[in-house]
Amino acid sequence: MSEYLLCLILFSIGLYCVVRKRNLIKIIIGIGIMEYAANLFFVLAGYRKTGRSPIFSADQQVLNMVDPLPQAVVLTAIVIGLALTLLLVAVSIKIYEKYGTFDITKINKLKG
């Protein structure tokens, strides 16, 4: 149970960071933290107590193993997160070139 609570706290930290921080880079870090929390949750969903890694071998019998599917899913999600982070960092570098600041409140050429 405590690990799920930690997961929730991690998620809340990330969400707080995205909502409250004014620096573009800190917002990107916040998104990263949220993604990690979501990934952690997914891996925890596949965790079994005293389970071992789900590798089949002829000489031993596997009785209790963790669910391998969340691990595969999370691997994909990490790659997606990487692409997203890359995009956000590239855009914020360009924004810095144009606006000369990382402060989100000063990046306001769009109105309405």
Binding site: I31, M34, K94, L110
Partner: protein, 499 residues
């Protein structure tokens, strides 16, 4: 059905070949992108024709039987949206040949465009929920890049805001999938629906529904989650706006929402009332905010929010007639909203500005853009006998039939509101006296004119979708698509039966 995977393979191959060819030869990427989207349009028509008779086509990836293996599913609902999406995408690709000439490094645009198309088609044929998420992310990330394509200060800002909000939405969707998986131990949507029928857990459904409403609601730009849309859709290059507004918000938002809520969870009273609330808010807020806009693309963007409200209203009311109207409006809106955004691109080229106060006399300067814009605006305002009139009429009638006169009244009022703001904005722009200031005054080339004319013809022909006759394949497809949603959880049985 062996054709289904090509819907994803073709655009992915195009996205791979374009960068290889594009660095040396400038003329190849536009042709490749147009060819790929043309192939997709033909493919989706072929699949739709097959699905009209056999109802559902399932492709097992690598021949692994579901639910363990990944499956691709094309049912009537997917096919209806597939045909719309790929037709619009082909016309947009042709339009870009001319329009994108003013940008540098256009091969990047075409590669990202193909990638986005692969993502959108992937969402439509995904048979399991995690594939749906992955393709949704492919389409969304390609979309963020495309919004920033101009690399001007404004478009970068719009892309950053869009990407941050989209990323938060994606995390919510991913968490929702995590909760669903930990309860059902499966990712296959049909299997999940069958499991949920047997072991229903109302608490879980409520919690996951909220996560999905936040996630997909943001992708669909329903009102509390709409703030990114006017920025992103107004700052992107015109073909990208047309794709985002015409196709992307519907597939990534409305289609995914409908698929999960109707076919996996089963439609409930709570979901219905939440959808109706969001829909009414979207219709009113989008419509009212559109009034104050001076930028032509922002006006169209706010009107997208308002029209998405109509689609969500139809889905929320949930009677067969309302769902039919919602899907009909979805098809119509894809056609005329992409036409409006393509028009805005050539209007910007003719008059050198997007400011409605300074655009004037488009019809006399350039009749093709002017008249197609007029047709699109008539259709979105609901002028009979254009497609937009019938779909709005069906939604309003369905509200009355479902004994919700207040909703019908609001839908009618918003329709008048739509007419009012389009009339106010476009009358001076289209008919006003020529001021002759600014802009290149340059006429749209054939590659820009033909897609606009074809879309205008489609906007008129959209009305034919409601003609019930056994020869009218489009009507049968639309009716079948509505019945896929009306039948709700029978989706599981239908897919299992086809395997």
């Amino acid at each position: 059905m062996q054709l289904v995977p090509y819907l994803i393979i073709v655009p992915l191959v195009a996205a791979f070949l374009i960068p290889i060819a594009g660095k040396r030869m400038k003329d190849i990427p536009p042709v490749l992108a147009a060819c790929a989207s043309f192939t997709l349009a033909i493919l989706s028509c072929l699949i739709a024709a097959a699905v009209i008779t056999c109802k559902v086509a399932v492709y097992k990836v690598g021949n692994w039987p579901p639910p363990a293996g990944i499956s691709m599913v094309a049912d009537s609902l997917s096919c209806l949206v597939l045909v719309t999406v790929n037709t619009v995408a082909f016309l947009v690709a042709v339009y870009s040949i001319d329009y994108m000439k003013k940008y540098t490094d256009t091969w990047k645009f075409y590669a990202l465009f193909s990638l986005m198309l692969a993502g959108i088609n992937g969402v439509l044929v995904a048979g399991d929920i995690f594939n749906l998420y992955v393709f949704l992310e492919i389409a969304a990330i390609a979309g963020y890049f495309l919004v920033a394509f101009g690399v001007e200060a404004e478009s970068l800002e719009a892309a950053f805001k869009y990407a941050v909000m989209g990323a938060v939405a994606s995390v919510f969707i991913f968490l929702g999938i995590g909760f669903l998986y930990s309860y059902t131990s499966t990712l296959n949507m049909a299997d999940m629906a069958a499991f949920m029928t047997m072991n229903n857990s109302p608490e879980l459904v409520v919690f996951v529904s909220v996560l999905f409403l936040m996630g997909f609601g943001l992708k669909a730009a329903l009102v509390p989650f709409h703030s990114w849309l006017p920025y992103a859709h107004s700052q992107a290059p015109a073909p990208v706006s047309a794709m985002l507004s015409g196709v992307s918000i519907k597939v990534l938002g409305i289609y995914a929402l409908a698929r999960i809520f109707f076919n996996v969870f089963g439609f409930s009273h709570a979901i219905s009332s939440i959808l109706i609330t969001l829909a009414v808010l979207s219709m009113l807020v989008g419509g009212l905010l559109a009034f104050g806009q001076t930028d032509i693309k922002r006006l169209f963007a706010y009107s997208s929010i308002s029209q998405i409200g109509y689609i969500a209203l139809g889905l929320g009311v949930g009677t067969p007639l309302a769902i039919f109207g919602a899907l009909f409006h979805l098809v119509n809106h894809s056609i005329f909203k992409s036409l409006l955004f393509l028009n805005s691109g050539s209007i910007e080229e003719i008059s050198g500005t997007r400011d409605l106060g300074r655009i004037s006399g488009i019809i006399s300067k350039e009749p093709v853009t002017g008249y197609t814009n007029l047709i699109a605006a008539f259709s979105i305002c609901g002028m009979p006998p254009l497609g937009g009139f019938w779909s709005k009429l069906i939604i309003i009638l369905a509200c009355i039939q479902a004994n919700r006169p207040v909703l019908a009244f609001i839908a009618a009022i918003v329709s008048i509101l739509t007419l009012a703001y389009y009339f106010r904005a476009l009358t001076p722009a289209l008919f006003g006296k020529e001021k002759g200031e600014g802009g290149s005054g340059q006429k749209a080339g054939w590659a820009m004119a033909i897609p606009m004319v074809v879309l205008a013809v489609l906007a008129i022909a959209g009305a034919l979708l409601i003609v019930p006759s056994s020869a009218n394949g489009a009507h049968i497809l639309l009716k079948d698509a509505a019945s896929v949603l009306t039948n709700g959880k029978n989706y599981a049985m239908m897919i299992m039966g086809a395997m």
